[in-house]
């Protein structure tokens, strides 16, 4: 009978004990293993998405429905508030990119909270893997998902009359802005999931935060159409900057201002929330 432990790492002179590879030396190798662990966890999370029909439906059909319903239902009345010649779907779709990225980030919180309640995190924690990989792998998988949903929304948008008018590079820029914004939101909700215990709490807290932010912004209608106090809030909101940036890159308008503000907001907040989340994760697990 074969022995239980064939040595996976060494050749003939197998030592009595096979240990995990020696502690990584230096920053470069920490970075290497951190990246590899993150990729391993990302693959796992992506598999989860495809194996949870509920989640798949939620994260794909819902945005598509929103694109179709919002444009047909509100198109008639919203058209009046728009500049001459602009269709509502042209205005709406870039906003919906932001809307759906914001709401999907609630799923980041839920997924992470569920993981924390699952036994498998115990095993992750007893392995010699990079600890932040659990968080980085979660947000990266969500970014991949976010981008694929974005693609789906664009296809549906094209079917009902949306067109990118600013050229391929700008269109890719819009996708990149939405990706960055979604990535930031994922990290914010990662932190939230680490602060409030339980998947349901994370979900509730998420929706309570997201709803007013999304509606009090330029996602659905130009802020000028809102009451003054809300318009003031909306024009300061990072969601408005992100929606304006995505919109300008998609269908024209002032690009530099909103793009720069979105870049500043996103990178600035990421630089704060990533270390905070990693520290919090280390502390509570």
């Amino acid at each position: 009978m074969s022995t239980l432990m064939t040595d996976p790492t060494a050749g003939d002179a197998a030592p009595a004990h096979t240990l995990a590879p020696p502690p990584p030396g230096g920053r470069l190798s920490t970075l290497y293993w951190g990246t590899r662990d993150t990729w391993t966890v990302t693959k796992r999370n992506l598999r989860h998405y495809v194996r949870q029909p509920r989640l798949l439906v939620f994260s794909t059909i819902q945005p598509v429905m929103f694109v179709v319903l919002f444009s047909f239902v509100f198109g008639g009345i919203a058209g009046d508030a728009l500049p001459e010649g602009m269709t509502y779907i042209a205005f709406l779709l870039p906003g919906l990119f932001i809307h759906s990225a914001a709401f999907r980030s609630v799923q980041t919180a839920v997924g992470l909270a569920e993981d924390l309640e699952r036994g498998v995190v115990d095993r992750f924690r007893s392995l010699p893997m990079s600890r932040s990989a659990v968080l980085a792998g979660r947000t990266l998988a969500d970014l991949v998902r976010s981008l694929s949903v974005l693609l789906l929304m664009i296809v549906v948008g094209y079917a009902i009359g949306f067109r990118f008018t600013e050229g391929l590079l700008s269109a890719l820029g819009a996708v990149a802005i939405v990706g960055l914004f979604g990535y930031l939101m994922s990290w914010l909700f990662t932190y939230l999931a680490l602060l409030v215990p339980g998947a349901e709490a994370a979900q509730t807290a998420g929706f309570v935060l997201i709803f007013p932010l999304v509606f009090a912004s330029s996602v659905f209608v130009p802020p000028e159409t809102m009451p003054a106090w809300m318009a003031a809030f909306a024009s300061a909101s990072p969601l408005t900057h992100a929606a304006d940036a995505a919109r300008a890159l998609s269908i024209g308008g002032e690009v530099a201002g909103p793009v720069l503000r979105t870049l500043a907001w996103s990178t600035g907040l990421l630089a704060v929330v990533i270390p905070l989340s990693v520290r919090r994760y280390r502390r509570i697990t």
Binding site: L4, M5, T40, R51, R118, G119, F124, S126, L127, T285
Partner: protein, 349 residues
């Protein structure tokens, strides 16, 4: 230079709210040794294992694994240990094969090595037929086996098994026992927890009994049997109603699960004398008796004695006087604070 012990636990404490899950544990396990950590529900077994596996920081005291401090050198500790926890820690949505490959990669094997190891372990743990099914669809025994396989992708120098066979049928249990024996034969140090003295006796070189968060006895199964009072006078009464009177009459007598039977732990050296005194007392009081006999305590009785869970009021606290010259090497300490009554109340709360 002698190498440090595999496990060295000094005065480790852990508190949850107002429960002292660990109230000053001392334990040492030499490299290559197999130690069974035995204790009733809520004794602190899982808590101790989680502290040792770096999953839970201790509140006080120190725990070292091969000389590495679990609190301050956790990453290094994780390179030497494997853990199969009380509750299966596998990914339910991934298949068995995907689970093992993922854990292999996270153990920092190369992709190729991880795939090869996964296939070997699936074969070895008899999971080949279910390898490509989601772990969610596995039976309890299969899940346990997958869980154990997941801690063996890289051979751990020290393996923790927290109640590895609870809830398993005899065949699965034997399979797990076989695997652990093989591992031990190849030099792995093993710390396993169990609620079954039988299992600890079968697998372990040494048994440490834990209760109320402290180690209350250590030794081999025989040592423990000797320690808790050598022999038992076993009395079958004619009528169950006499049991209470009989227990009051005879010092150290305690009821058993069988309402007609009472038992009296006695000193092994004076077993015959005790037998005749007990019979005399009962016949003088006119209590009719079916059968009286002398026997060694069963392992279960030893466990119940030591952990204070014996049926009779105060029965466990009254371990009969014990002659220390009889070669038993165990030390029995009682938990420092809290009576058995307190403990029971805590468990209910």
């Amino acid at each position: 230079m002698p190498s440090p012990p595999a496990v060295q636990v000094t005065d480790v404490r852990k508190r949850f709210g107002d429960t002292d899950a660990l109230a000053g544990v001392r334990l040492e396990v030499a490299e290559g040794e197999v130690v069974g950590l035995l204790g009733p529900n809520g004794a602190g077994k899982t808590t101790l294992v989680r502290v040792l596996a770096t999953l839970l920081p201790p509140d006080g005291g120190t725990a070292r694994i091969f000389g590495l401090d679990v609190a301050r050198q956790a990453p290094e500790v994780r390179r030497t240990i494997g853990l199969t926890g009380q509750y299966a820690a596998v990914d339910e949505l991934l298949t068995g094969r995907e689970n093992l490959r993922m854990f292999g990669e996270l153990f920092h094997l190369s992709g190729r090595q991880a795939r090869r190891r996964a296939d070997e372990l699936l074969e070895r743990f008899d999971l080949g037929h279910a390898a490509d099914r989601a772990a969610r669809t596995y039976s309890g025994g299969m899940r346990r086996r997958l869980d154990l396989a997941s801690s063996l992708l890289v051979r751990p120098r020290l393996l923790f098994l927290d109640e590895p066979t609870t809830g398993l049928d005899p065949r699965s249990r034997n399979a797990i026992w076989d695997v652990t024996r093989e591992l031990v034969a190849e030099g792995t140090t093993l710390l396993l927890t169990t609620q079954y003295l039988e299992e600890a006796d079968q697998l372990a070189d040494r048994i440490a009994v834990i209760d109320h968060g402290t180690i209350i006895a250590e030794g081999t199964g025989d040592d423990l049997k000797d320690r808790v009072g050598g022999q038992v006078v076993d009395i079958a009464l004619a009528v169950a109603e006499d049991a209470i009177t009989a227990c009051e009459l005879v010092a150290h007598a305690e009821p058993t699960d069988d309402p007609r039977r009472i038992r009296v732990p006695v000193d092994a050296d004076d077993a015959l004398g005790a037998l005749s005194r007990v019979s005399g007392a009962l016949s003088a009081a006119g209590i009719p008796v079916r059968d009286v006999g002398l026997r060694r305590p069963t392992l279960d009785e030893v466990f119940l004695e030591l952990t204070g869970a014996a049926g009779g009021a105060g029965g466990a606290a009254d371990i009969p006087p014990h002659d220390s010259d009889d070669g038993a090497t165990v030390e029995v300490e009682r938990p420092p604070h809290g009576t058995d009554e307190d403990h029971r109340r805590q468990e209910v709360a």
